[in-house]
Symmetry: C2
Subunit: 127 residues, 2 copies
């Protein structure tokens, strides 16, 4: 049995994956992996995703160098989603934050409030 063969990818062929920080447990990003992307993730030890627009499997964060090194892979009870625990280079979010979940709902003012500071400037990194 291989890890990829053991999972239920669902009707659309995509598996929901929560990427978390192996040291802090913090949620970094949610993404959807096809079997090829998961296979490449396991093989290389770097999180890979499937870019639908280009039809290719690429390492997440490869253009910025902000890759995610796999430390541990956990599975849920129904074998239809994963928690991939990583060491994150620099930051996970292309908007410059460590986690994509850098805003929380403020129900007094009905708006999202930023709770994290920016780690990098996206204009400098991506231009």
């Amino acid at each position: 049995m291989s890890l990829v063969d053991d999972l239920d990818f669902g009707k659309d062929g995509l598996l929901p994956v929560a990427v978390t920080d192996h040291t802090s447990d913090r949620l970094l990003v949610l993404c959807f992996l096809n079997p090829a992307a998961l296979g490449k993730t396991v093989e290389t030890g770097i999180v890979h995703v499937f870019r639908r627009s280009k039809g290719v499997v690429v390492a997440k964060g490869i253009s910025s160098g902000h890759v995610q090194k796999v430390r541990e892979i956990r599975v849920n009870c129904d074998l239809n989603s994963l928690e991939v625990r990583v060491d994150q280079e620099v930051a996970a979010c292309a908007h410059g934050y460590y986690s994509c979940y850098y805003r929380k709902w403020n129900s007094d003012d009905n708006r999202w409030d930023e709770i994290d500071a920016r780690v990098f400037d996206p204009e400098e990194v991506y231009n």
Copy 2:
């Protein structure tokens, strides 16, 4: 603006939601919420899900009493997924574990190894 109106529920009308422990940051479960379930979650402060088989919105864990009390709601950069941070009653997984992610991949032996102890016996709770 309301929280529900501000989100992109995608083509299938479902939003991926990672439920995490507000104290420890640990990932508990991934689920998919429609606007009605998210509205009820915000209104009551208890995580609600949409049961497709029955076509109803119900509080997650209501049959066992293992409900999830919302402490904070965070959104990702693309406004198309949430991290709902909760206080978990007893345990999140119907198999008896605190988190649904209670097994990790063992690449030496090609199998899933349990990393958590059971918190409750499902046969006692659900029968």
